[in-house]
Amino acid sequence: MPRFLTATRRAALAALAAAPMALGLGIGPASAESVLRIVPHADLKNLDPIWTTAYITRNHGYMVYDTLFAQDEELNVHPQMVGEHSVSDDGLVYTFTLRDGLKWHDGDPVKAEDCVASILRWGKRDGMGQKLMDFTRELKAVDDKTFTLTLNEPYGLVLDSLGKISSNTPFMMKKEYADTDAFEQVSEVVGSGPFRFVKEEWVPGSKVVYARNEDYVPRSEAASGAAGGKVVHFDRVEWIYIPDPATAMNALINGEVDLWETPAVDMVPLLEQSEDVELAVIDPLGTQGWLRPNHLHPPFDNPKARQALLYAVNQTVYLQAIVGDPKLYKECAAYFICGTPNESDVGVGPLQSHDQEMARKLLAEAGYKGEKIILMQSTDIPVLNNAALVTAQVLRDVGMDVEVQAMDWSTLTSRRAEKKSPADGGWNIFHTYATGADATSPIANIGVSGGGVEKAWFGWPTDEKTEMLRDQFAREADPMKKKAIIDELQGRLFDHLVPYVNYGQWFQPVAWRKGLEGVLVSPVPFFWNITKDAG
């Protein structure tokens, strides 16, 4: 309650507050249905989590579909729809048997042929799926509950791929829908997950409704991350999209919604003052910022110019500009996310040195002579907008001539595909970010690919040794050897390739009403396991 409200004024306000009830303006009779109301991070625009990589569609996928394997909160992979699985002694044949009780939302049983069709469709769209398919000789259903995956040669990431937690997650779909072309949306949402999608109540831009799937049989293990028993405690879950952060905050404080997935960081101090709201970081991996140089054109086609960026960047300056609250960020130079088994400190010295003199020296050695640097600034995404402004200043401080070109994200995503020289409509630098779950390994982290114009991500870094090390990592099954490959790869990335400059790691808090229990720790928000105190 604000301090300037005296007792008399409060009494008057309380009387006023009662007035609508006296006038019969109260809300209608309470429904017996239990409803969990969520403010999601984005509007659900499309429903096919294989067709698009949008995180909101991935989250929708977790509501209605299920996965063969799933990662727990420590990122270990566990069976989910699979009951039993085995690997042949030569590591080439994986046999999977579905657990009992799996049913599609239309009542039909989940069959092995559905899973085969789903994996094949996912394998056409997802990076890890494509890699798995490269190693796959045959994928076939043996009977209604069993299917086998036969490899050409041993591949160390089979279960990691099938249990991939983030986009594109290999969700299982009924064969008639999974047979849809991977570049077209499925026509209907028929999953086997813990919730059913209520299409009649879907209002894009406003509301998405899910009803509990009464036929769902949860695993017996406790829920952890995406793994374990998905026990649903509500009849309905409603996603209410509120684009304005101040309105979302007020709706949460007023009890109109139960949980806000991504509170704006400048709202966090206000939320912390509310007696009715709790805040917590549920994604321990957070988000990693990427400053992406274009490797095709001067000056960043020269490794020394890219290394100059490492010396020039000070993560703390970026993190203060985009997050502000030190509780919600940390300096982390590692390419594969701090706090994961793949975290490494090999080669991180330049990024931690903040040595502008060295940056200037390296730029001179790279032959930079004051040419204009085109920096694309996405003005409609606050994090990227602020990061671009910091980079512009950082580059000017080390003697570069920077032209900041403002545009919206949609325009930037088209422009960044241009391979032309910056003077002809191309570009030198843009910023983006990756959620930690998408950057924890050399295969999942598409930003470290050195595949050049044919295979690498926008910016097109080219380095055969990097690609060789990534390939070795994919084939290796021994965790110790994998770690050694990570160290060598990260050394190569810092010393030579510099595919992108990591401008820091930050953490998005989630806010919910007190009385809500069981919110799971995970990079993805899940709405099973949650209970609400009736009081």
């Binding site: 306000l13 006023l16 507050a17 007035a19 609508p20 019969g24 303006l25 809300i27 209608g28 509007d43 625009k45 499309n46 429903l47 067709w51 698009t52 990589t53 949008a54 769209r125 990076g127 986009s167 072309d181 570049f183 077209e184 949306q185 209002v203 894009p204 831009g205 406003s206 509301k207 209410i240 999209y241 509120i242 684009p243 304005d244 101040a246 309105t247 979302a248 007020n250 709706a251 404080i253 007023n254 109109e256 409609d380 545009m407 919206d408 994200w409 949609s410 325009t411 995503t413 088209s414 422009r415 595909a417 983006t432 990756a434 998408d438 598409i446 991500w457």
Partner: protein
């Protein structure tokens, strides 16, 4: 009169055709590609190309244009690239909140502003007039979102009278509908109250100094009859004009209010579609808007004949 209406309705066709061509060209020549948004950050160029092909975006521009025009002429506004839902359905879902907000705002503004303007003119130069005009200046000056947040704090968070956000269709009951629409209506309506009150005052002041008003006063007419039957009726043409312009602006200009109070209306649908380059939605909504503007303007023109018998078409 009927011939005039028919002519005006026919004139909407070339207007909408020009709007359609301009919007289509503008959208397709603007940088940005829905296929890139759909495919996501990690997509390969060949994947993006396949999506573009499935969406028909690889076709030459004139083929895409005539395909769209053909569909529109047969009553099909197309399908959203992202949600795969018919544009007509999406507009239908959003039409009620926008219309409800626009109509409620105009009713609120007229009910408050016209008496304010009449009183201000009647009491011109007095404290009452000055208070009303200060309110009008404030109404113009304070942004809608500031008024919205202030009202939200007082009436929702502190008093608990109204919900912070959301829209309840009238089909869910009149009281829930009224509760959901009250704060946005008042927040959005204040600027229109200010606008209409000022125009009403100015028009009334002009009329009140006319000779026939002095004659009516000399005949002993009471103030109510004088102000309402004689002065207001004669001052009403500019007032109705500004109300009409207000309606037209409201239909497309409620984006801020819809965002602050989380009302799923046409304004937000359009902004979301623009940011994602969902061409069929943008084209459909703008066609509807342009049609609505033409019809509102026609209605205003026709109302002049009722308010002023000297005007004939």
């Amino acid at each position: 009169m009927y011939a005039y209406i028919a002519r005006r309705l026919l004139a909407t066709l070339p207007v909408m055709a020009v709007v359609g061509i301009a919007v289509f060209m503008l959208l397709h020549l603007t940088p940005g590609d829905p296929a890139v948004v759909i495919a996501g950050d990690y997509a390969r160029p060949e994947d993006i190309d396949k999506i573009r092909e499935r969406l028909g975006l690889n076709e030459p521009l004139h083929v895409q244009f005539f395909s769209w025009v053909g569909a529109v002429l047969s009553g099909d506004l197309g399908t959203s690239i992202f949600s795969n839902l018919p544009v007509a359905k999406l507009i239908g879902q959003r039409l009620e909140p926008t219309l409800a907000l626009a109509i409620a705002t105009i009713i609120f503004a007229i009910l408050v502003a016209v008496p304010m303007g009449v009183i201000a003119a009647w009491k011109a130069g007095t404290l009452t007039d000055r208070v009303i005009m200060v309110f009008a200046v404030l109404g113009f000056s304070v942004p809608v979102f500031v008024i919205g947040y202030a009202m939200m704090w007082l009436f929702s968070i502190t008093l608990g009278w109204f919900p912070v956000q959301g829209y309840k269709p009238i089909g869910d009951g009149f009281w829930p509908f009224l509760r959901s629409i009250t704060l946005p209506t008042v927040a959005l309506g204040i600027i229109y109250v200010a606008l209409i009150a000022r125009i009403t005052r100015a028009s009334m002041l002009e009329v009140l100094t006319e000779d026939y008003m002095r004659t009516a006063r000399a005949k002993g007419l009471d103030n109510n009859a004088l102000l309402i039957r004689h002065a207001l009726r004669n001052a009403s043409v500019p007032i109705v004009t500004i109300i009409g312009i207000g309606i037209a602006l409201l239909i497309g200009g409620v984006v801020v209010t819809e965002s602050v109070f989380n009302i799923p209306g046409l304004g937000r649908l359009t902004i979301d579609a623009v940011l994602r380059r969902d061409y069929p939605i943008i084209q459909g909504v703008i066609l509807i808007f342009s049609g609505a503007y033409v019809i509102v303007n026609l209605a205003i023109d026709l109302s002049y004949t009722v308010l002023d018998p000297r005007i004939r078409y």
